[in-house]
Symmetry: C2
């Protein structure tokens, strides 16, 4: 068996140790005589798995007791509707900061449920930079301010925490959750699809300050009502049990590796290898403002786009896959989440050097 | 390793062969060098897995070409809202047949999105029988008529297909899909959470006649809009990829076992073992009308409820778990889906006999 270096933006590579454990436990979890997939969500075995996953997430991220952790069905695109359904009703309006494709999806979806204002936009820079806080026009009457903390497609990331005063800050952290320490208390709500740094697709984690719940619009489906789910410990409906189990294994693995500080160091080191090479190359380039570069998703261009196909084919032959960039930005993209080892990034840079020598 | 007989109503027991294959393929699916969990949903490997699952479902259920098959995020409780969001807008109203707990959940949720009429109710029989078609009061102007084809909690099941004329019939088949042949062309829409007969929780299959799409209410989230998902082959958002993979393995397994006709024979034989014993026992009883008894979920009562705990404890000691009935009906419930072998039902009846001899 040869494992590839998988640079997919999500679903994405997972720690091999986690997959080994999942395989070992597939038919008989801890002597229970069944797979986690077969367990009743109301049984003591799964309730324990669920509680441990929550407890690990709380510990790793330092989530205050005044926040609920919800394990919801679905992904971030669904949550783009569910967030305004639950929160925008307080005042009827919300501020959105537009930093690229995922911000645009979020704000477009929110317009169905209330008045949406663009507090700031990276459009002038073609979304290669995060608008500086001094340029933001915030509405003190907004129900919340929404950001995307890392744009998976454009490759821009907040390396600072916005100050939104008394208005709660809401962040889509799908593609950089668990990648570094953050101060949860500075956010009103954090949500993240699991399929980048946490586990399989089909699970969305929502971390919500308790006082923000209770303003759901009447059209909110019960299964997507944060208050209803919080009151039922995320078990108002059947949760995506196997995805929660895998997320729990990933969280345990992250803890064993040293937690958020260690992840940050690991991710900085990996990204540095790639960005340092890009910055000295005359053949490859990355156009994102240096202060706003993502440590998770690194888009890059070849000088001659006609060579894109050859580059991808050569990478595939060396066991490096899913490097094709999103059509919106073109070129290449290397997604280097927590579970991508530094060896994968080094192998990529080595291949890029060879390709540059051959074609540059 | 000893596998238990797991009578959980869902998530539920899965075929051991499927779990073995999933374990074997966990780190390296078909030489791809990655787990299915790690695959981009846009990559050729997962697109193939997704297409095969759909093709197997179409073949097994005989789904006509004029129906779309959607693999959606979530479960049936979410779908209880998503169905009316998508369909009730045509005329603004819908008919619901109330046959128990799951019907009630569905119709309660639908009221948020339009006018809901109760076309028939099993309330008079305390939901131990399906109301006969002759008693139904159907509104020819309804957007659809909703039924729950098998009540997981109450243990009543339709063994006939309602005739709703020109009004489309919508069925929640979560707990009896794939258990027997059905004529899909008699339904406008069928939906089913996967976690009983198809796979892990977190996946809902929707089979919808094409002409019924396109009436979604403006408040429908994009990710839950059937037309949007159908136009994108269920990939408008990231689907629950691993759950779809497991469902595909289950479908392949069902096909190998002989398809729907073989499942029906298998399920009838299993249920007969249990109902035959219940009908001659003076200690255990089932109160559902004979014609409407579920082949999937068999609730039963002990003559003396004070013995419930002892019964459950003894069952657990013999490796038979999750037999406790839902609090609404009390007593016991044996869920005997496709993947429950007849040996499991025989073992249960053997234990019941012994328990009756001891305590009867």
């Amino acid at each position: 068996m040869t494992r590839v270096f998988n640079f997919s933006p999500g679903p994405a590579t997972l720690p091999e140790a986690v997959l080994r454990q999942a395989a070992d436990e597939m038919l008989d979890w801890h002597g229970s005589g069944m797979s986690v997939m077969e367990m009743s969500h109301r049984g003591k075995e799964f309730i324990g798995i669920h509680a441990e996953a929550e407890s690990l997430l709380r510990e790793l991220m330092g989530i205050p007791a005044s926040y609920k952790v919800l394990f919801m069905q679905g992904g971030a695109i669904g949550e783009n509707a569910i967030v305004p359904m639950n929160l925008i009703g307080k005042t009827g309006s919300a501020d959105y900061v537009n930093t690229g494709e995922w911000s645009k999806k979020s704000l477009k979806e929110a317009k169905t449920y209330g008045k949406v204002s663009i507090a700031a936009s990276g459009e002038a820079s073609n979304f290669t930079a995060i608008p500086k806080q001094s340029e933001w026009k915030l509405d003190p009457n907004a129900s919340y301010v929404h950001i995307c903390s890392n744009e998976t497609i454009g490759g821009v990331e907040y390396h600072w925490t916005p100050d939104t005063g008394a208005v709660p800050l809401v962040a889509d952290m799908s593609s950089n959750i668990l990648s570094r320490p953050i101060d949860v208390s500075k956010y009103g709500l954090i949500y993240a699809g699991a399929q980048k740094n946490m586990g399989p697709s089909g699970l969305t984690v929502v971390i919500v300050r308790e006082d923000l719940m209770g303003h759901a619009l009447p059209i909110t489906p019960s299964a997507f009502n944060y208050k209803t789910q919080a009151d039922a410990d995320s078990m108002y409906n059947t949760p995506p049990t196997y995805a929660i189990y895998i997320a729990g294994l990933v969280l345990k693995h992250v803890k064993e590796r040293g937690g958020m500080a260690a992840m940050q160091e690991h991710n900085r080191a990996k990204a540095k290898v790639l960005y340092d090479y890009l910055d000295q190359s005359r053949f490859f380039s990355n156009s994102v403002a240096r202060d706003d570069r993502s440590l998770m998703n690194v888009p890059f261009q070849l000088r001659d786009a006609a060579l894109d196909e050859a580059f991808l084919k050569g990478a595939q032959a060396k066991g490096m896959i899913q490097l094709k960039g999103h059509r919106v930005v073109g070129g290449m993209r290397a997604s280097i989440y927590n579970a991508m080892p530094i060896e994968g990034v080094r192998a990529l840079v080595q291949y890029m050097k060879e390709f540059e020598q051959q074609h540059g």
